[in-house]
């Protein structure tokens, strides 16, 4: 009788363990699905942000915004460029690589490229 009872208890416990395992697996499955959805949402958001960044960086958009702010960027005119006649090479980078002629730190943010300068349009 005792043997029968212990077998029954063991079988019941094993059954409960099995059911518990199944329930836990389903619960974890739900959790994984939730996490996957979150991940997908984050990836979608990342894609949308990438699109926004690429769109904002598009030269045409930048130009449009600069025009809206009445800022005109242009290459230096020939009279603004000085080439000395002893035939030596320009210091890198390019024509503007003059280390002693560097602009103040904050001013640099208002200049588009090393070869361009910002100026207000005359019709302002």
């Amino acid at each position: 009788m005792a043997k029968f009872i212990s077998v029954m208890i063991c079988t019941t416990l094993a059954g409960l363990l099995c059911v518990y395992g199944e329930v836990e697996a389903v619960k974890i499955g739900y959790e994984i699905r939730k996490q996957q959805e979150t991940k997908m949402q984050a990836l979608d958001r990342a894609r949308a942000l990438k699109y926004n960044i690429a769109s904002l960086k598009a030269p045409k958009n930048l130009e449009r915004r600069l025009l809206a702010q009445r800022i005109v960027l242009e290459s230096p005119k020939s009279w603004q460029t000085l080439v000395l006649s002893n035939g030596t090479e320009a210091k890198k980078p390019g024509l503007l690589g003059v280390s002693s002629n560097r602009q103040p730190f904050f001013t640099r943010f208002f200049v588009g490229t090393a070869q361009a300068e910002a100026k207000e349009s005359p019709n302002r």
């Binding site: 699905r33 979608d44 699109y51 690429a54 030269p59 009279w79 000085l82 006649s85």
Partner: protein, 590 residues
């Protein structure tokens, strides 16, 4: 006794009934298990199992520096289960306020007695969130991919666009659709009573294969610059259209391929077929005087005569082969170098007659005219170069000056690039490579030399003549400040439908490269029907100058010429202290 008998009878009846019921149950069970088991288990599987399709992400299209020109964005599409919506009027009102579409149409969709009705597809994130906040029963979302073009109009003719199912319809999107599209996957999964997917019970899965990324040779900055200059030129001269190509002569890489008019890739439905045409490869035109470069190359390559050979240009009018040939200004005796620099038709034809039709034809074909360049874009056409066997008496007068032949702007660019590349014709390349999402290269497109068209010595001679065209010939407006440019102008009369040449419709073009001694970039600009000004030297040459100057500034290629006014300024003005060192080259501030 009687009562006992009755009880037994009752017991028997009750027992029999139970037994019968049990038998019925067993019979039913046996029936279900034996005869109906397959159909019932199928029914159960249909209810609990689902095949879920997994859409691949379409590959991106990127320019040479990795900036995205086309990418996929996943957006929410709103659907309704109309049977679950109680107050449809109220829901329609709310949706109308958020979506801003027709209220009656929303209501009509909600009133359909269906399990699934689309309300709005591919909503913006803000609208989707606003609808989600409503927390209305019977409304749901499905994620759908939307092809987006962050640069809008930039390289629109080259990139192309897709339809609502993400299949390519134009440009690279169409030609490389098989690489970009990817392969959809699927999974067979078990669902619970609430139709939630049970990952632990996943039965089978075939993952999707995302589309490959296509890397183009174009540079976004150069493309934008070229498009801007072309558009400004076309607007300024009231042109019907135009195209401009920028090519690296050493590799054949197309750095920009611009056409006018442009259209926004994100709103391609609003564009006309006319504006969607990639004129650079689909449109033929008679090149006119720019074709004299080919005639010159043929003469020099065949050593027919030297550049110093003199020809009488008949003061601008010459009757030959039953026709009168004119120059735009009268010239007397000139060397062949001057003939090309001044773009004399009479001198060029006289030179070509000395060369002979067969040799000219061979050189024209060697430069790649009359056949597709093999750039790998949909819609490219061959061009038209008649065989000498079919030439008429006047062909030797027309063809050397670019009449009676039809070319595409791309063919012209490739030919000019061959001259700039020591006579080696390179196959135009628009794609560098195709790779997968992990960056593994699937297919690579290497620069490909087609053939040596002319010798290096000939190409150097041609380049020196073309430099003269820009410095003191018809192409003065193509001069690039600080550099020596070379090129040739072209003004061709357009052919009318009756076969005659028009006197008020022209095709203005300029073919050139810079710097002339070591060409870095070849630029071809062609403008269709400019007016009232129509000369290539006035319309296309200035655009060439601005495009080339912009590219050289962008690449930071230092100027190899000292502008004379700068030397004067340096003599007059005292230098800024910071640029006093003689070895430095700098910029004097305003």
């Amino acid at each position: 006794m009687v009562q006992t008998k009755l009880s037994k009878t009752r017991l028997f009846v009750v027992f029999s009934l139970f037994l019968l019921a049990l038998f019925c149950l067993l019979a039913r069970l046996a029936f279900l298990q034996i005869f109906n088991s397959s159909s019932l288990s199928l029914k159960q599987q249909n209810q609990s199992r689902a095949i879920i399709e997994m859409q691949p992400a379409r590959g991106r299209i990127l320019e040479r520096n990795g900036r995205e020109l086309a990418l996929d964005v996943r957006l929410d599409s709103l659907y309704a289960v109309s049977r679950e919506i109680k107050d449809k009027e109220k829901v329609a009102d709310k949706l109308y306020r958020i979506l801003g579409t027709n209220r009656a149409e929303i209501l009509e969709r909600l009133n359909r007695d269906k399990l699934f009705v689309w309300i709005a597809r591919k909503l913006s994130a803000a609208k989707s969130q606003a609808v989600q906040r409503l927390k209305e029963e019977g409304l749901g979302f499905v994620k759908e991919s939307l092809r987006m073009y962050p640069k809008g109009e930039t390289a629109c003719h080259l990139v192309g666009f897709t339809d609502v199912d993400n299949d390519g319809l134009e440009g690279v999107e169409l030609h490389y659709n098989s690489f970009l599209k990817g392969v959809p996957g699927w999974r067979l999964a078990q669902r619970d009573a609430k139709q939630r997917e049970l990952i632990s019970k996943e039965i089978e899965m075939v993952p999707p294969v995302d589309g490959y990324n296509v890397h183009l040779t174009i540079d976004e900055v150069i493309q934008s610059l070229t498009e801007k200059e072309l558009a400004e030129t076309c607007k300024k001269f009231n042109a019907a259209g135009g195209s401009a190509i920028v090519m690296n002569p050493k590799t054949g890489d197309i750095l920009a391929m611009a056409n006018y008019p442009l259209y926004d890739l994100n709103h391609s439905k609003n564009s006309t077929p006319e504006s969607r045409r990639n004129r650079a490869i689909t449109d033929l035109f008679e090149p006119g005087s720019v074709f004299k470069v080919i005639t010159l190359s043929a003469i020099l390559e065949n050593k027919t005569f030297s550049l110093d050979e003199k020809f009488n240009c008949e003061n601008g009018s010459w009757a030959v082969a039953g026709k009168v040939l004119h120059d735009h200004t009268g010239h007397g005796v000139m060397s062949f170098r001057e003939i090309i620099e001044k773009s004399s038709n009479i001198g060029t034809v006289k030179g070509a007659m000395r060369l002979g039709g067969n040799k000219l034809y061979k050189t024209i074909r060697a430069f790649g005219f009359g056949e597709r360049s093999g750039i790998g874009l949909a819609g490219e056409i061959n061009g038209l170069v008649p065989n000498p066997r079919t030439w008429s008496r006047s062909s030797i007068i027309n063809i050397p000056i670019g009449q009676g032949v039809a070319v595409t702007p791309l063919q012209l660019t490739a030919a000019a690039a061959a001259i700039a590349n020591d006579g080696i014709l390179m196959k135009p390349r628009i794609i560098t490579h195709i790779d997968d999402q992990e960056g593994r290269v699937i297919k690579s497109f290497q620069p490909e030399a087609v053939r040596q068209v002319i010798s290096k010595a000939t190409s150097l001679q041609v380049r020196s003549v073309l430099e003269g065209v820009v410095s003191h010939g018809t192409g003065k407006k193509a001069a690039v400040p600080g550099f020596k440019a070379a090129g040739k102008t072209g003004t061709a009369q357009k052919l009318l439908p009756n076969g005659a040449y028009s006197h008020d419709q022209f095709f203005a073009s300029f073919v050139g490269f810079v710097p002339y001694d070591e060409p870095k970039v070849v630029v071809v600009v062609s403008v269709d029907q400019p007016h009232p000004v129509y000369y290539g030297g006035d319309v296309a040459a200035p655009a060439f100058s601005r495009i080339a100057a912009g590219i050289l500034a962008y690449w930071r290629i230092s100027q190899n010429m000292v502008p004379p006014e700068v030397v004067k300024a340096a003599v007059k003005k005292p230098l800024d202290r910071s640029v006093e060192t003689k070895s430095q080259i700098g910029v004097v501030g305003q």
